[in-house]
Symmetry: C2
Subunit: 107 residues, 2 copies
Amino acid sequence: MEGKTEISSLSEAVIYDIADFYKVFGDSTRIRILYALMENELNVGELVQALNLNQSAVSHQLRVLRQNDLVKFRKDGKTIVYSLDDSHVTVLLQQGLEHILHKKVYD
Amino acid sequence: MEGKTEISSLSEAVIYDIADFYKVFGDSTRIRILYALMENELNVGELVQALNLNQSAVSHQLRVLRQNDLVKFRKDGKTIVYSLDDSHVTVLLQQGLEHILHKKVYD
DNA sequence: ATAATACATGAACACATATTCATATGATTA
DNA sequence: TAATCATATGAATATGTGTTCATGTATTAT
């Protein structure tokens, strides 16, 4: 594409990338992980405990989140601490939440 | 939930609703339909032609989009014309696009 | 060095979902 | 009324995806 981004000229590749991007957010386990990391950085074991999930499931989903640059990680002693990749991710999560809260009423 | 929306207290129901919401955007056919409708309102036949898709596939996906209040429709003679439900949807689509364009380089 | 800990990975399985084909519905035209 | 057109729907199928189990790898502690 050249110059201004015209929706009409969205290439197939971009279409698939957009869908793939949203797909990452379209799983409740990943959403739970992301919102948990929004408060604190956490290592894998802490995520497993906090979310009451299988360790393997968490690792698999963390890989997906890593591959999509949504989380970053660092070593800390024996553990690996995950955190949101940047504030942009936080903004996206907030928007998703606001959209839902705007649509529905939860008591 | 009460008062300010604290991420920490996100209920399971909200988590699932957020994931379901993103899931709708996580399919390339639906994304193509939505971006097509971003330019013009279109009837089903026009969508089928413009996107080179099976009529049944389009109808099935339009139902998903309807159920999630992303598109609205009206009768126009023999056809049913679909359009984006409100400008909020447009904003969301623009953000998805910008996020992808920001991340990757398309020539 | 061995054992234990923390996490990642691969394969198998179960489940969800998109597409297609066939057909139904409903409105319009002849 | 019969036929046609536009769209919707249901069932079947194929493909994708998340979870689990088993195991691998790397690091730390004994």
